[in-house]
């Protein structure tokens, strides 16, 4: 059975004459938990942006569910969610309104309207905010009033509430203390869908800290836009890390 969800074939991406990704080939299977390692500026964020379809590669082919992004309908596109390194929250909205934005895709225009008027139900948003250990005193606070760690968790809650099968996260543990890192890592990697039932979730997380690798199945190492290794976590050796750092 072909259970490949995401596939990159010979992907290159150029920005202002700089080659950011260089002939990248990658296959991500359903249920895999992948850690993406690499120095700052190695191409991790660009790789994630290509995987979620937000940037088009200069060369090569990206396939999600064996289809190109152009062929996907909105329902299929919703199966992929991203936690951005720069969070990309809407500063003018409150924390709970931002989390509710994650539900915009599965709801109609009226829901967006109610969300902005603060008359929609925030029950679900609050549930995910609690899971991310956000205190209820910040639910109605504007984003610019929150600390870096709180913003980070609002962005994570917004992604999780979407209940997508594929989760891409770009350095999601920034600004978090060690206890919160463990909680958030478990949330990102656990196989639970939006209805709180067991399901298969595929996760790719870009990170720097090697001590967080133990729950991942695979590790991908990237340097100068090239994948240097794509191996099982148990096979990871110092030699591999030396190649990318």
């Amino acid at each position: 059975m072909n259970n490949i969800l995401l596939e990159l074939k010979n992907i290159s991406y150029k920005y202002k004459n700089n080659l950011i990704l260089n002939k990248v080939n990658l296959k991500i299977k359903s249920g895999e938990k992948i850690a993406l390692l690499g120095k700052s500026g190695s191409g991790k964020t660009t790789l994630i942006s290509v995987l979620n379809g937000s940037i088009k590669p200069t060369e090569g082919e990206v396939k999600l569910f064996n289809k190109s992004f152009e062929e996907l309908d909105r329902k299929q596109k919703r199966k992929i969610t991203t936690i951005w390194q720069d969070l990309r929250l809407i500063e003018d909205l409150s924390a709970e309104q931002n989390v509710n934005c994650g539900l915009l895709a599965e709801n109609n225009f009226y829901f967006a309207f109610k969300n902005l008027l603060n008359i929609s139900s925030f029950k679900k948003a609050h549930k995910y905010m609690q899971l991310c250990k956000l205190h209820n005193s910040i639910y109605d606070k504007k984003i610019n009033k929150l600390s870096g760690g709180q913003k980070q968790r609002v962005a994570i809650a917004r992604s999780l509430i979407q209940g997508s099968n594929i989760l891409l996260a770009d350095e999601p543990f920034n600004n978090l203390d060690p206890k919160l890192i463990t909680t958030i890592k478990n949330l990102l990697l656990e196989n639970v869908d939006k209805n709180n039932t067991k399901s298969t979730k595929t996760t790719l997380v870009a990170l720097h800290r090697l001590d967080l690798l133990n729950d991942f199945d695979k590790v991908i190492g990237i340097r100068d836009g090239k994948i240097f290794f794509n191996i099982k976590r148990t096979n990871l050796k110092k030699l591999h890390l030396d190649k990318i750092y």
Binding site: K77, R78, W84, D92, L104, N107, F109, N118, Q162
Partner: protein
Amino acid sequence: MNKLKLNHTLLSFLPILVCIPLGYQLITNIHFGGFKLFQEFLISAFNPKIDNEIIITVINRLNETILIGFFSWLVSIIFGVIFGILTSNIFYKIFNIPNFFNNIIRVFLTIIRSIHEVVWGILLMQIYGINFSIGIIAICIPYIALNSKVFAEQLENIDYKSFESIKQINAPKISSLLTLIWNPIINSFKNFGLYRLECSIRSTVILGLFGIGGIGTNIFLSFQTLNFRELWTYLWSLAILIILSRLIFKKIKFNNTNKVIFIFLIVVFFTTILFSFSYFLHFVFNNNLENFNSVSSLFKSSSDLRFLDFLKLILETIILSLLSTGIAISLPPLLIGFFNNNTSKILIKIFAFLLRLIPTPVILLTLLTFNNPSLSLAALTLGLHNAGITSKLLFTNLDSQDKRNYIAMKSLGISKKTSWILGLFSQQAKSYLAYCAYRSDIIIRETAIVGVIGSVGLGWQLQESLSSFAWQEVTIVLIAYSSIAIVGELINGKINNSLT
């Protein structure tokens, strides 16, 4: 860094040099025939006419003014929001519509914005005759375009990353648009919307001077009959209205979480759109369009306007704009900086308020009591009125500014005036100049009003051409006006970009 700030400071003061040629012409044009009238005008300010009859007239006329001002404000704000969205890049990005349509709407709005509401009013009066709706429509036409520009600029500031994140969620397009634009629109309305009501009331007064109705008409009639006490009764009642409206606006707090107010506003929004469309159709199809035939002869009528005369009028309009802008930029910082004590500040604030309050045609007519009509007099009038507006902004910004630099400089023994310029004003100079660049757009449009009264530039020619039904000339003058305003807007946009 200091050098850069000093440059902006210098640039704020240098335009006062326009006063040299302007002052020379004003002095040579002075006559003493009307000094007594001018004196009477000033004394009447402290002795306005108050009796039952005039109070009833004031109430009735203010009612008309408020109605015209309020409805034109409501319609222009709502359609301003709609056109603001339609001319913002975010709309075209979300719906994947080619930017070509955006450019077409923008050009159209720029053209109708470039023509002053008084010109629209005079044109519409020629076609439809005088009625209540003319005032509303004349104000709405340029105001919709002006408001749409402000809302569109606010929407251009939406963080690109917010747009990307919403796009990534794959929400319905209309939900994405609403989520992204909601708060910028609400914030623009809070910061700018209520101020526009004051502008609408001022415009209603000015249109009144040209016969549309409301208190403006009475102001003009009082002036014509030299009944200055009555004139000041109308002016002071207008001042009370403006002060009261400001106090009410200060009390109104728009809280994003106040659901009842927002639902009410949404109902008002859609009702106004429906009402405006139906009223507009009713107005167009139920009016006697006999006069409209004269418009259809637009291209048949001949023009007696010679090319060189026309160029002279264009040049006059440009010089008038430049001289007025010079006064509007430099006079407020000079006065505030030179008379830098609390009593002087209060006096300057009162003077500035009066300059804003008294409609420009009335200021001009008052100055004409002791000076012959000239370009300089028109420029002085327009410059003084706009200096009243720029000084208000400068006072507001200076009051809210951190004064530690100023205090530190004074404690070093530096003179009060120098400390004010270097420690206080220099930090505001850049944003002040940016606002003045925007203000000069409005000054170009306003040259039409003083032109009509002061026999200067294209404004005067427009009045002449309209009076003789020379529609071809009217068209040429309007095109020239639009072109000057559009070029001015482009230049000011560049200046503004370099300053912000």
